[in-house]
Amino acid sequence: MHDLDLIPADYRQLLQLQRWLIRLGLSALLIVGVASDSRVALAVGIRSQEQAVEQLRAAEALSLDRRARLATLRSQREELGSRLGVLEGLRGGAPARQMLLAVDRAFGPDLWLLEWDFRRAGELVEKQPETEHAGYFVVVPASAEDERPRAWRLDTHMEMRGRALHHAALAGFVRRLVEQPEILDVRILNTQARQYTSRQVVDFDLAVVVRSHGS
C-alpha cells in the first residue's frame, strides 16, 4: 500500500540538487585542498631536490677544483721530480776530489795553471739525447702549453787557463787528461806563445768535458 508523503516532488528534487551541489562543492574543495597540499608538498620536494642538486653541483665544483688542484700538484710533483733528477744528476758524476786527483795524475812538471774553473749545471734544451754525448738528459714532461719534449742537459766541464814551457808539455798534459776515466773530452781552446821574463812560454786555454752518468 502506498505510504502518503506530502513533500512536494519539486521541493524534494530541489533539496536533492542542493545536497548534490553541496557535495560537489565539498568534493571540489577537497580536491582543491588535496591539489594545493600536493602542490605544496611537490614544491617542498622540488626545493629539497634543488638543494640536493645545488649541493651536488657544489660538490662537483669542489671535486673539479680538487681534481685541478691534484693535477697541478701532480704537475708540480713531476716538475719537482724532474728537478730532483737534475739535482741528483748534478750531485752525481765525479766528485771534485776525484777531479783534482785526475788532473793531478795528468799534470806534468813543465806547466802550471793560472785559472781553473770547474762548472756543473743543467740547461733546458730540446730533447735530442741521441745526438749528445756530453752530459746526460733528464726528460721533462711536456706541459699543456708546450708540446715539445724538453730535457735537462746536465753539463760538467772544466776550463783551465795556464802556461806551459813548451807545446810538448801541453800536449802531454792533454793526452794524459784524456786518458783519465773521469774525463770525456779535452778541447784546446787557445794557445799562444809569448815571452815570459827571460824565456819563451805557451799560454793555453783548455775546456775539459767531464764524464757524467749515462755518458
Binding site: 500500500m1 505510504d3 502518503l4 508523503d5 506530502l6 513533500i7 512536494p8 521541493y11
Partner: protein, 355 residues
C-alpha cells in the same frame, strides 16, 4: 516495496532507522528504531513537553532548534533523518470515491479535490492512498486523500531543515497508526480491525481490512473528555480521575461505577463505531470486523476497554506501541509509550516491508 523504501534502505547501512517525530500541542513525541538481527529494536523514545509549556516554541525556529537538539540528544536519538507529520489542523483528510473514466487516478483525484477544497490546485499538495472497496470491479474506486496548503508544507519542512533535520517523509497520522497496527497484527495479517486511536482532545477511527484502509474518520472525543466526565460525575480533579481510571477493573465495584459514569460519553462513540462497522461491511462484502484495537492513554483504562467491548460486542485489544519492539537497553519506555503511537508508526516507515 516502493522505490522510496528501497532507496531508504540503501542509504541506511547501519540499520538505524529515521526518527519518527510528532509535534503535538502538548510537546514533542519521538521514537527511533533499528534493525537488530532479524528483530526491530527500540533505540530511544521521547515524550517531552514544550519549554515552559508554551507551544509557541514551534513558531520560533531558533527556540525550536535549541529545544529539539537538547531533547533529541538527551533522549539518545541519533542522526538527522526524521519522518514527521503535519499538525491535524494543517491537513485535510478525505475519503473520495471516484471512477476513472479514461483519466488516470491522479487526474480524477485532483479534479475531485479541486471541487471540494475550492482553492487553486497549484497552491496545494495532494497525495492519496487507494482503499479497498466493493466497487473496484466496476471501475469505482476509493482513496484516502491528504490535502495541505503548499505554503504550510514548505514552512514546516524549512523550519525543520533550519533545525538541522532532514525530513525523509511528511506523513499523516492515520498512515502511521495503520503501520503500527500492521506491526501489532503481523502474526495475523488478515485481521480486520477497527483502530480507535484516542488522543488528548480528539480521536481517530480507522477501519483496516488487512493492511489497507477501508475507512478513516475523526471523532470529536479525546482522553481529556473521558477524564473530565469521570471527574465531573465523581467530583474529582483530573489527576484523581485519571488515577481512578487506571486502577479500576471490571472486577471491582469502582469499575462498575465508572462504566456507568462513562456510558453517556462513550455511547456517542459506540454509535459512530457502529456506523463505521456497517459502512466497512458494505465496502467489504460483509467481511466482519474481528476486533477493536485501542491505542492511546485509554489503553491503561480497563473500564473504557470493558465498556467499549460491551457496547460494540467486539473484543477490545489494547496496543502498547513500544512493546512491539525489542526494548532499548537501560531505557524502559514506561507509561509514556502510550502517547507515542504515531511517532512509533512514523519510525516504522521504511523499516518494515509494508504490503
Amino acid at each position: 516495496m516502493s522505490t522510496f523504501t528501497r532507496l531508504l534502505r540503501r542509504v541506511r547501512p547501519t540499520g538505524l532507522g529515521p526518527i519518527g517525530l510528532e509535534l503535538v500541542p502538548e510537546g514533542l513525541r519521538a521514537v527511533q528504531l533499528e534493525q537488530r538481527g532479524a528483530e526491530l529494536a527500540l533505540v530511544a523514545s521521547l515524550r517531552a513537553g514544550w519549554p515552559d509549556g508554551d507551544p509557541a516554541v514551534r513558531e520560533s525556529t531558533p527556540a525550536l532548534r535549541r529545544f529539539l537538539r537538547s531533547a533529541l540528544g538527551s533522549a539518545g536519538l541519533r542522526g538527522r533523518r526524521v519522518i514527521t507529520t503535519l499538525a491535524p489542523s494543517d491537513v485535510k483528510l478525505m475519503v473520495l470515491n471516484y471512477q476513472s473514466r479514461g483519466d488516470t487516478d491522479d487526474q480524477a483525484i485532483v479534479s475531485l479535490v479541486s471541487e471540494r477544497v475550492r482553492e487553486p490546485v497549484a497552491e496545494l499538495v495532494i497525495d492519496y492512498s487507494t482503499m479497498r472497496t466493493s466497487g473496484e470491479k466496476h471501475g469505482e474506486k476509493s482513496a484516502l486523500v491528504a490535502v495541505a496548503r503548499r505554503e504550510t508544507v514548505i514552512e514546516r519542512l524549512e523550519s525543520l531543515r533550519a533545525c538541522g533535520l532532514q525530513v525523509d517523509a511528511l506523513e499523516i497520522a492515520p498512515g502511521a497508526v495503520r503501520r503500527l497496527i500492521g506491526r501489532a497484527t503481523r502474526d495475523d495479517p488478515d485481521e480486520n480491525a477497527l483502530a480507535f486511536h484516542c488522543q488528548t482532545g480528539r480521536s481517530e477511527l480507522l477501519v483496516l481490512w488487512g493492511r489497507r484502509f477501508v475507512l478513516h474518520r475523526e471523532v470529536d472525543l479525546g482522553a481529556h473528555d473521558v477524564i473530565e466526565a469521570v471527574g465531573k460525575a465523581l467530583s474529582l480533579d483530573e489527576d484523581e480521575a485519571a488515577h481512578l481510571l487506571e486502577g479500576a477493573s471490571h472486577s471491582s465495584e469502582v469499575g462498575g461505577t465508572l462504566r456507568e459514569v462513562l456510558k453517556p460519553t462513550l455511547y456517542g462513540l459506540a454509535e459512530q463505531v457502529n456506523q463505521a462497522v456497517i459502512y466497512a461491511a458494505s465496502q467489504t462484502h460483509g467481511a466482519p470486523i474481528h476486533c477493536v484495537r485501542l491505542l492511546g492513554v485509554p489503553r491503561r483504562w480497563p473500564a473504557v476497554a470493558e465498556l467499549l467491548a460491551q457496547l460494540l460486542e467486539l473484543p477490545v485489544r489494547p496496543v502498547e506501541p513500544l512493546a512491539l519492539f525489542e526494548p532499548a537497553p537501560g531505557r524502559p519506555p514506561g507509561r509514556a509509550g502510550d502517547e507515542l503511537a504515531v511517532a512509533a508508526g512514523l519510525a516504522l516507515r521504511g523499516m518494515i516491508q509494508d504490503a
